[in-house]
Amino acid sequence: MSESTKGYRHKFTVSPETYSGFINVFKDENPLHTDEQFAKELGFDRVVMHGNILNGFLSFFVGQCLSRKNVMIINQQIDFHKPVFLNDVVELIAKVSFASEAVGITEYKYYFENQQKEKVAKGKITVKTM
């Protein structure tokens, strides 16, 4: 993760381990995510990755990339704009959008873009410093 005046950037690969790990843990085997023929019938080239894999990447951002560790997420919002596929490389770009010292809050606006520089998801995450 790189941090600069332009914000934070980090690249994640939606690897087979991430994909299978998500299914193993959460048991979401909806055919959109597991059946290529089903996904094609819905207009996708391949099975679509679970959107909440991106939320896992956001968890990594807050838990591992911020310089302080005494933080917790109190609110998280995400809009999914385009599908993410297996082995896609998505880059998280996050920037502080608001901070309140009085209540120890930092809000980050973020988006994910894929290797084609398409914005696949965007949202806002609110972190409290404990």
């Binding site: 109190i74 608001f98 309140s100 010292e101 009085a102 209540v103 809000e107 409290k128």
Partner: protein
């Protein structure tokens, strides 16, 4: 901004943040009077108030507010034309 205008905007923000259309703030209202006003929603309220009125509180100022009226008076003083 006048006190009455501030408390009117507070009421709108409280309804929105606490998701309770029945909230009618009075000067003496405290967190004890509104079920949804807990420690987490308190944070959201402060954030939305800071954003809307374009002001910043300190932690000491927030702790010093005895009720909604005291907070509204403070905000009115901070947003005087």
């Amino acid at each position: 901004m006048e006190y009455q205008e501030v408390i009117k905007e507070f009421n709108r923000l409280f309804i929105d943040v606490l998701d309770n259309e029945e909230i009618v703030l009075k000067e003496e209202t405290t967190a004890n009077d509104i079920e949804e006003w807990d420690s987490l929603t308190h944070i959201h309220l402060i954030v939305e108030i800071e954003k809307f009125f374009k002001i910043k509180f300190t932690a000491a100022e927030i702790e010093g507010f005895a009720n909604v009226g005291a907070m509204c008076k403070f905000v009115a003083s901070k947003t005087e034309a």
